[in-house]
């Protein structure tokens, strides 16, 4: 409502500003340009979007305070999801870690907790993420490499040994077999005497972005969506404090998307999950408050801050208007952030500490609920303990020394931030509309549309780096002669053998009749329509392995076929 009571800038004022800007342009800018041309013909954001020389109220002339910005903890949540934000509680400093065996990862977790980490984040190795045991032929060379190997409940017991599961919140980066790992977590807690309603944490459980960008899928779309809605339903009854999904733009951005694509494609995935759950008969307000998001933080500070604000506002509108959610918690977009792995350089790795600092600021100024900061050496190998500590200290310095946490959404009202917030929201919405036209996210993925859009952006970015129109310090400018970095973390190559031996012992020791019986019960459940979660929980308790459980599901559900559109 132009001229309405909430319009931030009144029309007379805007008119005058326009005039004066025109004068300034004539009198000052043109003169300056004639003497010193600007550094570049076009200035663009990290995503390649245009950036104006100057932003004024003119660029946000129709801004309505209540509709567009509002107050923290209130619809449309542009300024944040909590009323006091970091004045109440800082974000969760959650460092993603895990490698080799459960024993070694357990040590790293205890170290992180001692250093002040406030949440655990478990990295699994690739065989675990794809539902293979360590003794599967495809697991060869991969066991324990990018995360910890989990074959059975036994590994999970070791992983969380001495860590009270009613006290910590645990995030597990697990997708296709998320139901199995969650079942194991519930079973470990039960052994510690912690009932499932006390458990706090997150499973990533976002299969659509696996198809789009990350690649650790197992099953085809329909059964995968069923597993996800089964988890929604099970957790709403038995694990009510658990975040049942972390709808992830992180990997979409890592694959090369722009900021607006990150928001658009991630929210389109979110819409698909909500649709699926509603179709499965769930009431939107029973599961939507447990949905959470996961975004990237890149170097373009202003664009990134605008991105988080745009995502919050757009999701709130979608939940309210499209899905008719009534519970405000269903409309509040909570998110975890990880700094951008793809922005790190292998050259002069210490420079990455500075990049991560900027990205940390972006995430915090954008109102993140939790944050993982990457370590300087991650373009080279898994991070060492020293590097992880510096990364964690980066967060702590921003939290306790920078002062940006003392007031909420401090960049609001900046002309450029509000203009960019509008722009990203609009572009993201255009992507969502396009995906709706194609028949929704799963179909758009099947057609390769989303993948192709991301790839186009990634290729443009690469070309900009190669023709030096985009500068990456230390990589295509300011290079130095460097020696090979020393002291990188090396995963013991014997891990695979040890894990295999352990698995063989387990299989000899456990009650194999019972395992078989529960696996067959699971098969029946998969073939039918009922919720498979209770059957998976029963199977893990008798030490059926991850590979066995996923094997049954592979037999019933089949496997996903990648869609490539280059």
């Amino acid at each position: 409502m132009i001229g309405g009571i909430f319009q931030v800038f009144d029309n007379d004022m805007l008119k005058q500003i326009k005039q004066e800007k025109e004068q300034w342009q004539q009198a000052k800018v043109n003169k300056a340009l004639s003497r010193f041309p600007e550094r570049m013909e076009n200035f663009t954001t990290g995503s390649g979007e245009n950036v104006n020389r100057l932003y004024t109220p003119e660029d946000v002339e129709s801004l309505q305070y209540n509709d567009d910005i509002g107050f923290p903890g209130q619809y449309p949540y542009t300024r944040g999801v909590q009323p006091t934000m970091y004045r109440g509680r800082l974000w969760t400093m959650r460092m993603y870690a895990g490698f080799a065996t459960a024993e070694e990862s357990n040590k790293r977790y205890k170290y992180l907790v001692e250093q002040g980490s406030t949440g655990l984040s478990v990295a699994m190795d690739l065989p675990t993420q794809i539902g293979y045991d360590s003794d599967h032929p495809l697991s060869e060379g991969e066991v324990g490499k990018v995360g910890v190997a989990i074959d059975s409940l036994e590994d999970m017991e070791v992983l969380f040994d001495g860590i009270p599961l009613d006290k910590v919140s645990t995030s597990m980066t697990i997708n296709a077999p998320a139901s199995v790992l969650l079942a194991m977590y519930i079973a470990v807690a039960e052994k510690q005497g912690v009932s499932s309603d006390k458990l706090r944490g997150t499973i990533q459980n976002d299969i659509l972005k696996e198809y789009i960008a990350r690649g650790t899928y197992i099953f085809p779309t329909e059964p995968s969506m069923r597993l996800i809605t089964n988890i929604f339903e099970y957790c709403s009854k038995y694990v009510p404090k658990w975040n049942t999904i972390s709808i992830s733009g992180y990997h979409i951005r890592e694959a090369g998307s722009t900021a607006a694509q990150e928001v658009g494609f991630t929210l389109a995935d979110g819409i698909a999950y909500v649709d699926a759950a509603i179709k499965a008969g769930l009431d939107v307000d029973t599961f939507a408050p447990r949905l959470s998001f996961f975004f990237n933080a890149h170097n373009d500070l202003l664009e990134e801050v605008s991105k988080y604000r745009a995502a919050r506002r757009l999701w709130a509108k979608i939940m309210k208007e499209r899905f008719g959610a009534k519970n405000p918690k269903s409309m509040a977009l909570k998110f975890h952030t990880q700094t951008g792995g793809s922005t790190l350089t292998a050259q002069q790795p210490d420079n990455n500490i500075i990049r991560v600092t900027i990205q940390t600021l972006a995430a915090v100024l954008g109102g993140t609920q939790s944050l993982h900061t990457n370590s300087r050496d991650e373009a080279l190998a898994l991070p060492t303990e020293d590097s992880v500590r510096i990364a964690l200290r980066t967060q702590q310095i921003v939290a306790h020394e920078s002062g940006v946490t003392n007031t909420i959404d401090p960049l609001a009202g900046s002309y450029v931030i509000e203009a960019k917030t509008n722009e990203i929201e609009k572009k993201a919405m255009e992507y969502i509309n396009k995906i709706d036209d194609l028949g929704g996210a799963p179909r758009a993925i099947d057609l390769g549309y989303i993948q192709k859009e991301i790839m186009d952006s990634a290729y443009d970015y690469q070309k900009e780096i190669e023709d030096n129109s985009r500068i990456v310090v230390g990589m295509n400018k300011f290079q130095i002669e460097e020696e090979s970095p020393k002291g990188l973390l090396k995963v013991d190559p014997q891990v695979g053998e040890r894990q295999k031996a352990k698995l063989a012992q387990l299989k000899a020791r456990r009650d194999n009749d019972k395992v078989k019986e529960r696996l067959e019960a699971l098969r029946m459940a998969c073939q039918g329509e009922e919720n498979v979660m209770p059957f998976i929980v029963e199977a893990v308790k008798v030490y059926a392995t991850l590979g066995e459980i996923c094997g049954i599901m592979r037999e019933v559900f089949g496997e996903y076929q990648q869609s490539v559109n280059l």
């Binding site: 970095p485 990188l488 990648q562």
Partner: protein, 133 residues
């Protein structure tokens, strides 16, 4: 006659990060090469079978999971078994410098680590393709 260089671009192992593989596939195409793209989760056996059937000049593999020491030499071994030693094999990804000599010894012609331009890779292929063009 002037024929395009044929390159198999493949992702061995289980990691799903195919941005690098796809960017290089596009860059090679734009440099006039025929790229056969195999997608994710390829075993060394599948890679070699595809390389043979497609009669490629180059096999280019990308891996970010850390399984390179296991998988790259395996591909070399299988190619040699098939007598396909005239195929140029290159690799890329997050590969520590200290692993590179071992991989080269196994027959991988070059390893491209993060930050390598596509131009560098293209030049390398053009200069080192073993088969007569």
């Amino acid at each position: 006659m002037d024929r395009p260089i044929r390159v198999l671009v493949s992702k061995p192992g289980l990691d799903g990060h195919d941005r690098g593989a796809k960017v290089i596939a596009r860059a090679l195409r734009d440099a006039g090469m025929e790229v056969i793209y195999t997608g994710l989760r390829q075993t060394p056996q599948q890679i070699v079978a595809a390389a043979i059937q497609e009669d490629v000049d180059v096999v280019a593999m990308s891996i970010l999971s850390g399984a390179h020491n296991h998988l790259f030499p395996k591909v070399m071994e299988l190619l040699n078994e098939q007598g396909a030693d005239d195929v140029l094999v290159i690799g890329g990804g997050v590969i520590p410098d200290e692993d590179i000599p071992g991989l080269k010894k196994a027959g991988i012609a070059e390893i491209f680590t993060p930050g390598t331009t596509t131009g560098t890779t293209i030049d390398f292929i053009r200069k080192n393709v073993k088969r007569v063009q």
